[in-house]
Symmetry: C2
Subunit: 380 residues, 2 copies
């Protein structure tokens, strides 16, 4: 990139995260180029620079990267060999393959975080039938079985209630070629997410700790500030800093944490890209996670991650059947709630957008956000 030209950031994948990266890039004068599976993908609908290609195809990734100044990712399901070819060709990729491995392989992540001295749920790789029996004798039933790779939004996670059920599941998963591990079922009091942006200089912008609400593994709501003590807040931030520096993340990293009934924090998993829990930063913080992701990837100074109001609440819009929210934008002038739609065709349970309300008091802000989300979903 010459100093007088517009920089080009390539994004592999074209979901709503890429869509919101592109939207943020407009203000920064960054040109985004997208590697999409289809022209109907959420980000492809709004991008003038779309290339159709398979994120599992290393040759497609290399060819795509060569048209960019730097490459980043919409999701983790990307062929690492392709990223390495891009780097060999002189195109920086952020997150790097080494960093990305933590997000791609939950078992690797667990082993590394354990070695780092972080508290993670008890876990055990399940490679033979005796492993399950051994692990269950340690953590009891029910327990969790997870796929080491490929999971998202509750996919790749199973709650298992007995040895018999577990063996049936494991044989099926092994038959599908999956690497799996067992995990203790934690008595979760609250789920938290810590987001930070980090660039190659080591500069970090730390977002307020987010309180999240999942259902069936899918994020439904996110809220700042989290209703936690300052001690827990500091501890959560420290965990995120330790991880971010250890994995040398560049861009946004999200650390999902469980707070148990004993007040202890356990690291669930991380993402090395913008994260659903950070969507509230668009309307609720000085600089959104999407803008700071692009700044970090460009190695530009980061923007402030400070919240702009006392309370910020985001509610996902999960489609109710095939109703289209476009025809039902609610009367919201009195509601001070920002609407974000992703251009996706509604399908039962699909994330098709989110809303964010800001204000002084969570007791007032949260119902407001839920009400608008419900109207957009077509509930009334």
């Amino acid at each position: 990139m010459s100093k007088t030209s517009i920089p080009t950031v390539g994004i592999i994948g074209a979901g709503q995260l890429a869509r919101m990266m592109i939207q943020a890039s407009i203000s920064l004068g960054i040109e985004c180029r997208i590697l999409a599976k289809s022209l109907d993908d959420s980000a492809a609908l709004i991008s003038p620079n779309v290339e159709i290609g398979d994120p599992n195809d290393p040759i497609a990734i290399e060819a795509f990267a060569k048209k960019c100044d730097v490459v980043t990712l919409d999701h983790e399901l990307v062929n690492v060999e392709g990223l390495k070819l891009a780097i060999e060709a002189g195109i920086p990729v952020q997150p790097t393959p080494e960093t990305l491995r933590y997000a791609q392989d939950k078992l690797y992540q667990r082993n590394q975080f354990t070695a780092l001295g972080l508290r993670v749920p008890k876990f055990k790789a399940l490679v033979s039938e005796s492993d399950l029996l051994e692990f269950s004798s340690d953590v009891g039933w029910p327990l969790v079985v997870k796929s080491a790779t490929g999971g998202y939004d509750g996919h790749g996670v199973w709650i298992v209630h007995s040895e018999a059920d577990g063996q049936v599941l494991l044989n099926q998963l092994w038959g599908n070629g999956l690497r799996v591990f067992g995990e203790e079922l934690i008595d979760i009091q609250m789920e938290l997410a810590v987001l930070l942006a980090r660039r190659t200089t080591g500069e970090i912008a730390m977002y307020p700790v987010v309180e999240t609400y999942q259902k069936d593994g899918i994020c439904h709501e996110a809220s700042i500030p989290a209703a936690i003590s300052n001690e827990i807040r500091t501890s959560a931030e420290n965990i995120a800093t330790v991880i971010g520096e250890h994995i040398e993340v560049v861009g946004i990293m999200a650390v999902e944490l469980f707070l148990d009934s004993q007040g202890q924090l356990t690291v669930n998993e991380i993402a090395t890209r913008p994260h659903n829990s950070g969507h509230l930063t668009i309307d609720g913080c000085s600089t959104s996670q999407f803008e700071n992701h692009m700044r970090a990837v460009m190695n530009w100074p980061l923007g402030s991650a400070t919240p702009i109001k006392n309370s910020v609440v985001m509610v996902n819009i999960l489609a109710a059947g095939e109703k289209n929210p476009l025809a039902t934008i609610p009367d919201s002038q009195s509601a001070e709630t920002a609407i974000h739609l992703y251009g996706k065709i509604p399908r039962e349970g699909r994330k098709i957008g989110h809303v964010t309300s800001i204000g002084d008091d969570r007791e007032e802000v949260a119902p407001r956000a839920r009400s608008i989300a419900s109207k957009l979903r077509g509930d009334s």
Copy 2:
């Protein structure tokens, strides 16, 4: 447009206003289509749906409009016959040609507003040499000569200090085929802008009155709240409502007002589109002028125009020579200032972006915005 499809809004013109309309439309799931003069235009750089065409060509406008559900404008310099052809073809155009005439023809606007009982500067159409003499005997020297059409950012405005100078100027302007009028030079204490969004139902969203700072006819800064009494504020809002309803504007309308040393408000001129004084609404109000323009044009319920902080200050980035701000994004993490670049090639004095700071106290917010704008301009 079918209820299940994505609506398409056509925008004639591809400057930074269209660029920011497109950016806002992403969140609403609206597809924008652009009629641009060049692929390098600010909005064309970020749009997947660009058509190259001349906004003075009625046939080009009609053909463009037929691919859209509704058409709106980036600027006023658009062929009205083309808009009428689009309407005849069944495509709504907002603002309508009748509304647009107020913004296109300042002399028509002055005559209509006078008939409406609004205070405007003393003015007189200048069609013969005796007109200038007659008008100067009424308002004295210096006085202002303005082109009835085509002016923007200080273009089409001349301060004239004597009869002799005035006649030379007039003969030149008449020779160029321009319709011109004289205007008294007002003792301006403060310049204000009132922005509102209005849709076909008559619903209005009124933005906080903006205090603006022009230099050589170009907006340099804008700030809310304006440092005026509640009486003047109410009066300014009433003027905007009267005008908006009279001209039946749909979309954003901006009314530029002079506040003189006697505390009287005079209507300078109006724009029937998003306006530079409203750029601070992107980061400073619940719903930006760009989002509300698109909502209004779609006849969707308007979003809240409430400010989100006590003080919001916008500073334009006017290029200093050909330095490119992209290489100089300042270290702004502590500065909580939003940066907006337009993708324009820098040229001395050209508006290439703006910054907006928000906070509790204007005395702290304004210098912060100026400092970041200055760094982006490359001053230090």
